[in-house]
Structures are given as structure tokens and as C-alpha cells.
Symmetry: C2
Subunit: 707 residues, 2 copies
């Protein structure tokens, strides 16, 4: 028997579209990569690290990774940590190269990044930030912690009942004068150290945050090195700890709880750069104690970079998919691929899809600019601070402290804004890939779950935004009261309270005018906050939603102003045609940022309703202008398939075949039956209800029973 089956279906060929658009990219992708990385040299370094990582057999992260349970994740992560420890030795003493390496591997395996980040950034960072030089040298180099050798550290700050309010932690460190020691104790379940990464199975030591108590007097929270496990990796007496179990994401991290039951440590284990205790219990705290938490800043700065890198990864997947995928015909398609035979449009040619994804692409570039800037500020500030403390040069120290305060404001605003934006980006990109975005092999599911915690840890975003917003209001208050010009990144505030600037329709295409509008709004909203404060007995909680908006607006101002600066610096040189696309992206970033806060812009009359209508139109035309460059703009991230790790976003663009092959190789052909098939078959073949009840409700039985 022969069937005559006619089929004129044409097999989709998404790869050809992606490759055609790649060929027609109008700018130099290498130059754009250098712009994103910050310099030509940094671009070379990044590529070289990427290549080493993706070729390393132990660091391999494949699609299988999305199928692992917690045990498998933990095992593999342990092996990867051990591998990364060898790279520290290789990179030493250049810790910056290792930090870049860590930031890059974290894109494809975030939990690995955290595992090492907790040890190097938090545990060793606390010792570096709060310990004396001798203390740091002992733990880091003599004992080997700097190379994850001899010591594996964790960071025991948060407790079950206390997270954001560090000053209210309840673990105690009571001084014992006779024995010149501290007794570390957990007073009740609520004070159990909680969420401690590395505690459950790994850490040999912890940087423990505890209330220093001497003769009943409470000196507030200080940091102590407390050994947890001995050289045989066995728990020390008095230490109780365990696994806090399954998490939303990052299950490769062995987060644990710790309870200290009167654990004695030598007096010398208190980190004493800012607070010292004499043998007979006198506590000396120089005014520099305010710097004690500076070690936490590094994490926030890293998270700006991580948000950038993670956004690079996921926007690439969504945009490649949106170029390769066709669905529905479009009225007036803006496609630049009129030659394609299929009649459905590429989904990126649907205006709504452009509105969905292209502002997020623009944000990704803006985050890259912010990441470069704050990383370099951080390094400069920290080294100035350390030299100031070491030399006790009060002038250097004064400048350093001012810079540190600026960094505190910048990092609070940028960490919260960027981690939130990145989370939104991952979810939006997932939805933009339709049903296939829900496949674990697309990478979005684990990507979202892994990134989500960035909005919470090392400074809850809501709290950080409150802090950043408060600083802005205070800067404006000081400026209005004292006529002192704000300095540093706040210098833009100067003079803005007096002018009555409003964006006009013709200003929409002028980046500097958009920046001015943002700055004007920040100033007006801050002034408004001051009015509200005076009405509400200076209760800062009464302006909490305004502070949150100010923090976001400050971040947008930061990114836009640094972006304009970079653009101005570049104008002199021949850049392979990247100036125009960058300008388009910055414009879209600025306009979409303003659109997000359009209600406030309109309310404070920085924007008229007529101009707002024009502004929305302009977003649409900007999307159309950027549209033909999306493949080039994402290729410019130079993420190989290893870093993308998604069936939907490979470089070749052969989406359906890649996906089809992956699904088939990962899931063995089902030739017999599933392990639970017997349950289903028994259900389908079950006897009738009457049979299963042995007919005991039948009329004959009931008749018998009625007599």
C-alpha cells in the first residue's frame, strides 16, 4: 500500500536569517566589544580568560547541568572549586585577573562564583577590611586562605531572626579577662547563624559577627575569626551546624546554619583594625570605625558587573531567537529580509516585540558602562583607603573617606537598580521566547532562580534603595541650606533647583537634554521630599516610595552621564562605526528610563503631555533604527556557546535542529515504559466502581441487609 501525501511545507531555516543579518552588520563588532569591556587591553584579557575557561574539562557546564539535583550540583561544584583554586595560584599575585575569571565563570555557573566569592570576597574580605595587616597576612598568606588552601572560610553575619539590621545581631562574644579569650555564644534559636554559604559541609573557619561584651557592657557588633572544623575536617567541639537545605536556586552552595555553644577563641582572633581590646578588657575604637563594613561594598560592585554579564547572556538568547523565529504575518513588516520565502514575519519585526526587548538591550549596554566605571572607582578608592590607614596620612584618609561615601551611595543605587533590572530582563526574555523559554535547556529557568537572590543578599534592594535615596535628599538639603556645591557624582545637582527646565519635543533626540531633564527631576523630587519631611516631623519613612524612585533615577542618571562621557571621549577616534549604534542605544536607554518614571516626570512638570506623546513615538522609531543591528549588537558580547549554554541562542542560529538534537540526546528514546507506567495502566484498566466495591452497594445486598 502506498500513500500519496503531498506536502509543500518548507522546513524553517532560522540559522540563515541570523547569519545573513550577521553579515550585514554595519559596525565593527570587535571595536564594540572593546568599548563594552572598557579598553582594547581589557578586551584581550577577557577573551583570553574566556577561552581558558571554556576549554577546561573540569569547569565544563553543559545542558545536563539543568537536570542536576542538589547532590550532583554540590559534588560538581566542589570539584570546580578545587580547579579554580589552581587558577588562583596561576594568576597570583594578580588578584584582578582572578576576579575577572570569577566574574566570567559566574555567568554560566553562578553558584560556583558565589562559593568562591564567599570565601575570597566575604570571609577574606572581612579579614582584609577589619583586620590588621598582620592578621590579614597570617590568615591569607601564612595559612593560605588567599589560595583556598589550608583554610576554607565562610561569613557568619546573618541570623535566623536578623538580616538587614546587622547592628541588632544577637550572637555574643563575651570577653573573659582571666583567660584572655572570647566566648562566642548563640543565645536562642532566633540568633542561629543562617544562610551561611559554605558552612554546611565545607568551611574550616568563619568570620563571625557578634556583639562584643565586656563586663556586661555591649560594644556593638565586631568580627571574630572562629574555627569550625579541624585539619581532619571534623567539627570542633561547641560548634553545631547543618544544612539549611533546598533553595530556589544556586543549590550547589552548601548554605548552612551555625550555633555556637560557649565556644572559646583567643583574644587575638578579634579583627582589630578599627577596634582593639587590651588584656584587661579596655575597648578602644578610633573614629574610623565607620569604615568597618567597607568589605561588603566589593560584593555590591561585583553584582553590578554580574547583572551586566547576565543580561548580556540572556538578551543574546532572546534576540537570536527573535530573529530566527517566524510567527504571524505583519501588516507593514519592518523586516530587512524581504528575500526570505516564508510568509510569516520574524518575531523581532513585530513592534510589540521590539518594545519588549530592545530597551532591555539598551539597558544591558548601559549596565556595561556602569560596571566599568564603578569597578575602577572601587579599586581606586580601596587602594587610597588602605594606603591612608597604613600611613595614617589624614589628608589622604579624608579624601578616601569622602570617596568611600560616594561609593556607598553609587553602589547601593546601582546594585539595587541593576539586579532588579536584570531579573526583569531574564523573565521578559523568557516570555519573549514563548513556550520554548520554559524549557530548562533554554537556560532561563535556572538563570532566573539563580539571579533572584541578588535582589536580596548583601543588602536587600529595598533597603539599599532607601539608603541611596536618602543620601540624594540629604545632598539637596545641604545644597539648599548652605549654598555649598555638591561634589563628586552629586555635582550635577548644582543649580538644578533653580531652573524651570522642561523637555521640549525637539530635545528628545538630544542626549544632553535628556540628561538635564533627569537631573532636574531628581532635584525637584528631592526638594519635594524635603517639604514632605517638614510636614511629617522629619519622619524619613514617610517618603519611602519617593526615596526608592530617587535611587532608581540616580542610577539612570549615573549610567547616562557616564555613557555620554564615553561617547564624547570616543568622538576623536575612528571606531569602526560604533558611535552611531551606541548613541542609538543610549537614547533608547534614556527614553525608556524616562518612560518608566513618566508619571513623576509629568507630575513635576519636567515633561509635558504633548512631549510625552512624542517621546513614546520616538521610542518606536529608535527601535526600528536599532532593529537591523541586533545580531551585531549581541555578537559584540563575544559570548561563545559555552557561556550562552542555551538551545535557543547558539551562535549558528540553527535553533530548531539544535533544540531537537539536544532533547533527543538528553532524553533517551522511550522504547518501553516509564517507571510509573504500571500506576497509569492500572488506573486505565481498573474495574468498575461496583466491582471494586465487591457489589456491596448493589440492590440485592441492600435488600439482604434491610431485613
Amino acid at each position: 500500500m502506498s500513500y500519496t501525501v503531498s506536502s509543500n511545507s518548507v522546513e524553517p531555516n532560522p540559522g540563515s536569517m541570523i547569519q545573513e543579518e550577521r553579515r550585514s552588520t554595519s559596525f565593527n563588532v570587535q571595536k564594540m566589544f572593546e568599548f563594552l569591556e572598557g579598553s582594547k587591553q581589557k578586551a584581550v584579557d577577557t577573551l583570553s580568560i574566556m577561552q581558558q575557561l571554556e576549554r577546561d574539562p573540569i569547569l565544563r557546564t553543559s545542558l545536563r547541568y539543568y537536570e542536576y539535583g542538589t547532590e550532583k550540583h554540590r559534588e560538581e561544584t566542589a570539584a570546580k572549586i578545587s580547579r579554580m583554586a589552581q587558577y588562583i595560584e596561576k594568576d597570583a599575585p594578580d588578584m584582578q585577573t582572578f576576579q575577572n575569571r570569577l566574574n566570567l565563570i559566574a555567568v554560566v555557573d553562578p553558584q560556583l562564583g558565589t562559593r568562591i566569592g564567599v570565601h575570597l570576597g566575604l570571609f577574606l574580605g572581612a579579614i582584609r577590611g577589619n583586620g590588621t595587616d598582620n592578621q590579614f597576612n597570617y590568615w591569607a598568606f601564612e595559612r593560605g586562605a588567599a589560595y583556598i588552601k589550608g583554610i576554607y572560610g565562610c561569613f557568619a553575619m546573618t541570623e535566623l531572626a536578623h538580616g538587614s539590621n546587622v547592628a541588632a545581631l544577637e550572637t555574643t562574644a563575651t570577653y573573659n579577662r582571666k583567660r584572655k579569650s572570647f566566648i562566642i555564644n548563640t543565645p536562642h534559636v532566633g540568633a542561629t547563624k543562617w544562610w551561611i554559604g559554605g558552612a554546611a559541609h565545607s568551611a574550616t573557619h568563619t568570620a563571625c559577627f557578634a556583639r562584643l561584651k565586656v563586663d556586661g557592657k555591649d560594644y556593638g557588633v565586631k568580627v571574630f575569626v572562629v574555627p569550625l572544623r579541624d585539619t581532619a575536617h571534623m567539627l570542633q567541639p561547641g560548634i553545631a551546624l547543618g544544612d539549611i537545605g533546598e533553595k530556589m536556586g544556586r543549590n550547589g552552595i552548601d548554605n548552612g546554619w551555625i550555633q555556637f555553644s560557649n565556644v572559646e577563641i583567643p583574644k587575638e582572633y578579634m579583627l582589630s583594625k578599627f577596634a582593639t581590646i587590651s588584656d584587661d578588657g579596655e575597648v578602644i575604637e578610633p573614629p574610623l570605625a565607620q569604615l568597618a563594613y567597607s568589605a561588603l561594598l566589593g560584593g555590591r560592585v561585583t553584582m553590578v558587573t554580574d547583572s551586566f554579564r547576565t543580561s548580556e547572556r540572556f538578551i543574546t538568547i532572546a534576540l537570536r531567537y527573535s530573529v530566527g523565529r517566524r510567527q504571524f504575518k505583519q501588516g507593514k513588516a519592518a523586516s530587512n529580509n524581504k528575500k526570505m520565502p516564508q510568509s510569516e514575519s520574524q518575531i523581532i519585526d513585530h513592534p510589540l516585540h521590539q518594545h519588549r526587548l530592545l530597551p532591555l538591550l539598551a539597558w544591558t549596554y548601559a549596565m556595561g558602562i556602569a560596571s566599568n566605571q564603578i569597578q575602577s572607582d572601587y579599586k581606586a578608592t580601596l587602594s587610597m583607603l588602605e594606603s591612608g590607614v597604613r600611613t595614617q596620612d589624614m589628608k589622604v584618609l579624608g579624601v578616601a573617606i569622602k570617596k568611600l561615601k560616594q561609593l556607598f551611595a553609587d553602589s547601593a543605587s546601582l546594585k539595587s537598580t541593576c539586579t532588579w533590572k536584570c531579573l526583569q530582563l531574564i523573565e521578559e526574555c523568557r516570555q519573549a521566547c514563548g513556550g520554548h523559554g520554559y524549557s530548562a535547556y533554554s537556560g532561563f529557568g535556572k538563570g532566573y532562580a539563580d539571579h533572584a537572590v541578588q535582589c536580596t543578599w548583601e543588602g536587600d534592594n529595598d533597603i539599599l534603595a532607601q539608603n541611596a535615596g536618602r543620601i540624594t535628599v540629604q545632598q539637596v538639603a545641604k545644597m539648599l541650606k548652605t549654598d555649598m556645591k555638591p561634589t563628586g557624582n552629586f555635582s550635577f545637582l548644582a543649580g538644578k533647583s533653580k531652573i524651570g527646565h522642561t523637555i521640549d519635543a525637539e530635545d528628545i533626540s538630544d542626549l544632553s537634554k535628556l540628561l538635564l531633564a533627569l537631573e532636574t527631576l531628581i532635584c525637584r523630587l528631592s526638594s519635594n521630599c524635603l517639604d514632605l519631611l517638614s510636614k511629617n516631623e522629619q519622619n524619613w519613612d514617610s517618603i519611602s516610595t519617593e526615596k526608592k524612585s530617587l535611587s532608581h533615577l540616580y542610577a539612570i542618571q549615573y549610567m547616562l552621564s557616564k555613557g555620554i562621557q564615553r561617547l564624547t571621549e570616543m568622538r576623536q577616534s575612528n571606531n569602526g562605526g560604533i558611535n552611531t549604534p551606541i548613541k542609538l542605544l543610549l537614547s533608547l536607554f534614556a527614553l525608556s528610563g524616562i518612560k518608566e518614571y513618566a508619571d513623576v516626570f509629568l507630575q513635576f512638570d519636567v515633561l509635558s503631555t504633548q512631549t510625552y506623546a512624542k517621546l513614546k513615538e520616538r521610542i518606536g522609531t529608535l527601535c526600528l533604527e536599532i532593529r537591523p543591528m541586533v545580531i551585531g549588537m549581541t555578537d559584540s558580547f563575544k559570548f561563545s556557546d559555552f557561556f550562552i549554554n542555551s538551545v535557543l541562542g547558539c551562535y549558528n542560529g540553527d535553533i530548531y535542529n539544535d533544540y531537537w538534537k539536544a532533547v533527543n540526546s538528553l532524553n533517551d528514546a522511550f522504547d518501553t515504559k516509564a517507571p510509573y507506567s504500571h500506576d497509569l495502566e492500572a488506573m486505565l484498566k481498573r474495574p468498575t466502581v461496583a466491582q471494586r466495591e465487591n457489589f456491596e452497594k448493589g440492590s440485592k445486598v441492600l435488600q439482604k441487609l434491610s431485613n
Copy 2:
């Protein structure tokens, strides 16, 4: 040796605060429950079902559920399906009770809900919607599919390269006149049926969407019953299928792919309520063919209910936690618990936290109102439609079709708006629980991952919102052109285009004025769309962002108007004091809905900037008024700990002890070492680099090698 450790820490007691607030609830929680469920009788029914479900040993869903891998989820889900099948027999012929049961169990085990929903709602729904009475009777009752007996169905609509654009599906069903049969064929990989729930391991039959082809002519997509597995549960020849593997969530579902290689089915397996084919291949399609997709509506309606139920669950967890958790002192705390000894504030007393959670509580109530309304509209419409088709009474049919169109618009708008809002709610609630929200045992992680797909499947939210927005614009166009009054749920449009209404400051507390403002905006924005369309050669894609806004605004208008209606109906009776809290919640819902679209309200001059400032203030005072009732308002959902299934949200409120005990019982005390400890120990104890390299880079060696 004895230590003297002083500790004046007071153990936190969150339960006492929650219970005290529960005692002081100002309204009757039972009456509120009845309001939410729609009637006293429905409330009784819901409670009775809940009790049966939570006591059933096979349906048990515990904290362990959050630790399962895919295999375990699949196994347990199979056993639960089998158990639920027995409840169908028990509930029969009352399918509504079983549907309620399914909606409820889906709150705590969404994948189970989907598994059964695909069989009953999609597979059998397609047969009911597209088949003749005889066809439905055979497959549903004679063969037993209605009881998941004999037949397990799946729904083969989407393909690898086609999802939203159903009309462009590429699987073919070619008529073979000689054999009076259809040949079902998959022309290429892109046309592989994909995401088919139940296909990988379970289904015996599928409702297959394929292009009907007769003599080379394409009649578009029709539905065919295609057997996949025989009575021994073995694959039929010509059928290739497999598992599509790991997903972001709902891994208990065995989503699969199917390829048909010239599979022959009898002509009678085509579902032919709307399209018939004669033996010699003549295709007859009555004008009613437009109703062919009506079976999909049920899923959308169910998702409104599911968004409501899921929101009930997660807002309860976040609010109980926010009452029990203390963190930071507050300037002017709005706490109603001044007696508590601790000095930190309950986090719900921080204004920002109120702004974060209370509008979401208000949305939950609004979704409950919407769910009740659309469920009852759906039932009425479907039964009218079926009786119309059966009796061929054209008058009845005419009304039914009109109602069906209304339902299409309502469900498109509400499904997209509510599933999006619910997803946002879960994430916001997770973040509001700080670090602990990231624990899998909080329920948020799996809750988010499971719900996320609701925004994508059975009508992608972006597409549905486009459809709903377009209908609104068309209604306004018709009204302006013909002076015909819109009817049904669109009747509010009448007259709104002419008036120049703007909300004044004093209108903010008047629900009917807020409703009027919403309606005015919908009308103005629609008129604006008509202008834009005429400027853009009627290209509907040019107003896609506006259509999306219109869809959301329509949903808000729907919920608010139905809420006001319910409130008016209740005014006569004594309701245990629930009218005031409901009014407060509806006000907060309306204002926060307006705030979300404030830029559009301001742009179209329905709101002045002065009034907007007042409106934001009013949101703050509404939050303060609702604040003391949050425990009562969430207790009113009557979700027991079984349905909550979270360590952070138990009824007793003893958060820290519950969490501590759960973590300890789920994760065995770690007394020896982790399975991967050897890797870590080897790393910590590794020799120096020089040793590991056997000193082969040492100066002595190099000297030797240089000669």
C-alpha cells in the same frame, strides 16, 4: 572551668503577634470567606473539598515536595492522577464539583492540576467542543475518558516551529478516498508536535490539530483523534514520540514531542461538529466554524481562578511573615502592637512594605471577584451554546455567539492581566520575605517556576492582550461610526467619548468616580488609537503598546465594576462588618490600578498632576487603614497549612521554630562528612605548586636544561 556568659536577648515570638492581631480582627472572617467564594453554599462546598483533599494520604504534598527531582515528581504525580480518577467517579455526574476539586489541588500541586486538566479540559474539551454528540459520547463515556479510564488523552496542537499562530500549523491530515481514511503526517522537524503534556509516557490517544487536505486542496486546521498507544500501553506503529525533558517548573508533567509518519486513521476520527467530509471527499463547513476553538476558552477562564487562588496562597505567606518579623526601629511606627517588648518594628509597619504588599492583597480580592464572575458567565454561555447547536434554534444560537465573543474578549484580557499580576505577586512576596523567601521551603521558588508558564500557554499573554485591546478599539470605532450603543460588558463605553471628565481630588474616595475615570480613559485611548490607525494606513501593529494597555485597563474596569456591583448587592444585608474592609480593598485596588497607568491618565488629561499627588497620598492612608486587618483578610481565604505548604506562613505564626524544625528534620544532622568532602580536603591539603610540578621549573632544572 565555668564561663560567665550574660545574655539579655529575648527570643522572638512571632506567633504571639499574629495571634493577637487575629483576635482583634474587626470583621467576621467566615462572612468574608463566603464573599470571596461567591455564596454561602459555595463556601461550604469549598471547605468540604479542601478537607477531603488535605486528609487524603495519596494526595499529600509536603515540604519534601520541594526537594524532588523530576523522576520522583513524575512517579508521585502518576499515583495522584490515579487517586483523582477515583474522585471523578465519586463526583459524577457533577463535573463542576470535580472541577472545583481540581482547581483547589492545583494550588498546592500545580503540575497535578495540569496533568488532569490537559486530559479533561483540552483533550476531552476538544472532543466536546469540536465533535458531534455521538463522537463525544463514544470517547468520553463508552470508552471512559470522562473518568480517565480506558483512554488517557493529550492535546497535540503546538509544534516546534508554531505555537501562537495555530492557523499556520504544518502537520497534515490527507484524505485517502479509496480507503476512507486520513493519513496524518509530520512533514519536517519544525512541524514536530512539541510541549504535548502527557505524550511522553502516558497518553493513549491525542486530539491532533492538522491541516485537512483533500486532492491537494488545503481546508485549514481541523482536529482528529489519533491513537498513540494500544491497550498494552505500547506505541502504535508510525508514532514516534519522546520526552522533551527538564523544564523551568511543573516537572511532574511528562511533556513530549510526537512525530507522525504517515499514520492512518479512519475517516470517522475527524471531529465533525463544525466540519464534515463525505466519503468522496467533499468538505462541508457551516458558518459556525468560527466556534471551533471555543474549547480553549475553558483553560483561560480556569487560569483566572488559578491566579486568584495562587495569589491567595502567596500573599498569605508574605503577610503572616511581615506581621511576625521585626526588623529596624521605625520613626513613627503605625503599629497597633505597642505592648510588645521588642524595640524593632514589625516589618509590615514600615510604609514601604505596606506599599509593596497591600495593593497586591487588594488585587487578590479583585481577582476573586473576577474569577466568580467569569466562571459563571462561562458556564451560562457554554450551556446556551450547546443547546443552540443541538436544537439549531437560531435565536438562541445568535445570543450564544454574542456571549461567546464577549467571553473571548473578557477571558483574553483577564487571563493575561491576572496571570501576569500573580507572577509579579509571587516574586514581590518572595522578596518581601527577605533571604528566607529564597528557601525552597518557603514555597516561593517552585511557586514562581510553576506559575510562570501560565503567562505563555493556552494563549500567550502578549497575543491575548493584543486581541482584547483590538476588540475594545473596534467597539469604540463602531460606536463612533454608527451611533450604536455597545452592549454586554462593553456597554460602559456609551457616552464616554463625549464627556470631558477628569478626577478631582475629592473624587478619590468615591469608587464610582474612579470607575468613571477608568472608563473615560479607555474611551479616550481607544479614540486615540483610531487616529493613529488612520495615520498609519490601518496598520494595527502600529498601536500594539496601546492595545496592551487597553487590555489591562479593561481588566481593571471589569474587576472594579463587578466589585462595586457585589458591594451594592450586599449593602442590604448584615454581613458581619465585611462591607468596610471590602470597600477599602476595592479602593486600594482601583487607586493602585490607576497609579500603574498614571502616565496615560495624565497624558489623556483624565487626571491632573495635583490630583495625582493626592491620589498617591491616599494610597498611603488606605494602606494604614487596611494594615490592622491583614491577618483577618488572609485568614478569610481559609487555606490550611496543607494548602499554604510553607515554613514561613503557617497558621500558628511560629515562624522561626517551624522553619528551624523543618530544616532539621529534612536535612539529617551532618555528623561525618559530605560525599564530596574528599575533593575539598584534597584541595585544602594540596602540596605547593612547585611540589605538584615536581620542581621541574626550579632554577637547578632550568640550569640543566640550558646547556
